[in-house]
């Protein structure tokens, strides 16, 4: 999926992609924050576009 879209699978790009998958299913207005932890020392939060 990422290779095909030309995106690099950074935590930032992944959390945004997961956001888009979830928003399509449950509605963007119901999503407030998404936090993706890559490992116990690194996480990225995304709040939507």
């Amino acid at each position: 999926m990422f290779a095909a879209s030309g995106q690099i699978a950074t935590t930032e790009n992944l959390v945004r992609a997961i956001w888009e998958l979830l928003a399509a299913k449950i509605g963007a207005d119901r999503l407030y924050r998404l936090r993706l932890a890559e490992d116990p020392t690194l996480s990225v939060e995304y709040f939507g576009p």
């Binding site: 995106q7 945004r16 924050r33 020392t41 939060e45 709040f47 576009p49």
Partner: protein, 145 residues
């Protein structure tokens, strides 16, 4: 404006003792309880920075730069030291979690890209975490900046 908030977790070990120079022995023992005795913690420090996504790299922050800054201005100063006696930059600071979080913020903010620091959290024990947000209340990165 789309923004990401990246949080990195660091660890250091240090000793300290909570005592106010304004109080006598009895009062310090009453206010600080068992923390008036010299003791130590395995601290964790969470540093959160916000930034826009660089479409070329997919990064919102330079992780190598962040690690380097935290190592230099924070961890190198405190790791395996007695915070109450062996860290000149903490002279006069009662090293409560609140004071440490604010002091660490003051060390980190000028060393990081301008305006990027969002939050410093000092995890003193499994039960106690102290968060500091600078002049900005907690919230979405772009709403409070």
């Amino acid at each position: 404006v789309t923004a990401f908030a990246l949080t990195r977790r660091y660890h250091f070990s240090a000793g300290h003792q909570l005592a106010s120079p304004a109080l006598d022995d009895v009062e310090n023992a009453r206010v600080y309880g068992q923390c008036y005795r010299p003791h130590g913690h395995n601290y964790f420090v969470e540093v959160t920075v916000s930034g826009a996504l660089d479409p070329a790299t997919g990064f919102s922050a330079d992780l190598g730069e962040l690690d380097g800054v935290v190592q230099r201005v924070l961890l190198d100063r405190v790791d395996h030291y007695d915070l109450s006696s062996a860290v000149p930059e903490l002279d006069g600071v009662v090293t409560t979690g609140e004071n440490l979080a604010r002091t660490f913020w003051d060390w980190l903010a000028p060393a990081l890209p301008a305006g990027s620091l969002r939050r410093v959290a000092v995890v003193e024990t499994a039960k106690n975490t102290f968060e500091y947000f600078g002049d900005h209340p907690p919230g979405r990165p772009w709403e409070t900046r």
